[in-house]
Amino acid sequence: MPVNYDFQFDAVLASWDYLLQGAWLTVQLSLGAMVIGLAVAILCALGKTSGPKPVRWLINAYIEIIRNTPFLVQIFLIFFGLPSLGLRMSPDVAALVAMVVNVGAYATEIIRAGIESIQKGQIEAGLALGLRPLQVFRYVVLKPALRTVYPALTSQFILLMLSSSVVSAISADELTSVANNIQSQTFRSFEIYIVVTGIYLVLAMMFSALFAGIQRLVFAYDLDRR
């Protein structure tokens, strides 16, 4: 089968700065959602493992609803649905909120598994040493728990960065949206999307490297033991 397609990357390269702007917003949205999502997940995991029953039930409902519905539908509900309840957001903010809500549910389950892997004796030892319950949670439970689940957590974060391309559906100005805009002006669809796919691959590798660096900094005591 002959391929008579004339590849033209000039149009893509001419918009390189614009693409980088989009990639930067993708990075910002992802980092923001990771940090806020992690905080949400730690609170929810704490609530799910030691909260009162109604709290546990609510957190469970949140997790199951988010994990069993598509991200795209969650974005539509937040961006198109919430304004009818009086909550209006710009596409970028709606994208961030949707990403936080989404990653929060997955990360809660991951961190909960980490918390449950901490042995009871550790907690009792912490209390016996005179640490207050919050200190026990912070130093004895949370940090080793996060170290245990760190690989699962970071691969979830990379999935989040990749799925952020879906927020282009509400035209938040991130990488995929920028690609769509360039595509509609130049019609070099295949060239644009192959370049953007490459950019996502590079971003995924950069985040992997970043997470490996953080692991070395924060959880170094684990590496010493090996």
């Binding site: 089968m1 002959p2 391929v3 008579n4 397609y5 199951e64 609803i65 994990r67 069993n68 519905t69 598509p70 991200f71 795209l72 539908v73 969650q74 539509f76 509900l77 198109f80 649905g81 919430l82 304004p83 009818s84 309840l85 990379i158 990749l162 799925s163 952020s164 391309s165 879906v166 282009s168 559906a169 995929t176 669809s189 295949f190 999307y193 192959i194 953007v196 796919t197 996502y200 691959l201 995924a204 590798m205």
Partner: protein, 217 residues
Amino acid sequence: MIRSFGYNEFLFLLSAVQWTLALSAIAFLGGATVGLFVALGRTSTIKPVRLATTGYIQIFQGTPLLMQLFLVFFGATVLGFDINPWAAAALGLTLNASAFLGEIWRGCIQAVPRGQWEAGSALGLRYPGLMRYVVLPQAVKIAVPPTVGYLVQLIKGTSLAAIIGFTELTRAGQIVNNATFQPFLVFSIVAALYFLMCWPLSLLSARLEQRYAARSR
């Protein structure tokens, strides 16, 4: 003209569920077929085969599914095929599923104890027989819970076909919303329909996992 959300709109959404399910089924069957070879390639003793399948998995797991769908959709035109959104979505999701299932099943194949492989080859089995009669039957048992769990991810992934214009459940929701302007109601119902498809599978996967963990303890 603005319509209000009524029984007919609900029926329209409900009928779109069948397209979501059909797309999921095709992507799963296609992905399972290709994924088996990807898993065998990943666990192969031939280095180039292992490298090629590792690269395949990394590319599909390191890029957004939406980009993969776009590339299939626009790439087919480049190759001279006239492709419709339905075929593009099915092909894109199949390729994506094959990478994910391949990686899941690689773990399951490697989880079969080494002694089983050695016993098989000591009995004179060559690679095909070894795989067919010794390794894969045991790997399948381990593979069932995570595979059911992956089905949930696959069903949710089909929603992205809406963006390239295939009318499955999410696209149907957009269409109904454009006619009724009741986004909160419409997308809540769409979400509820996805939940009804996915939640039973999530529960089943968790239960199978527990049962497997209890048996292998």
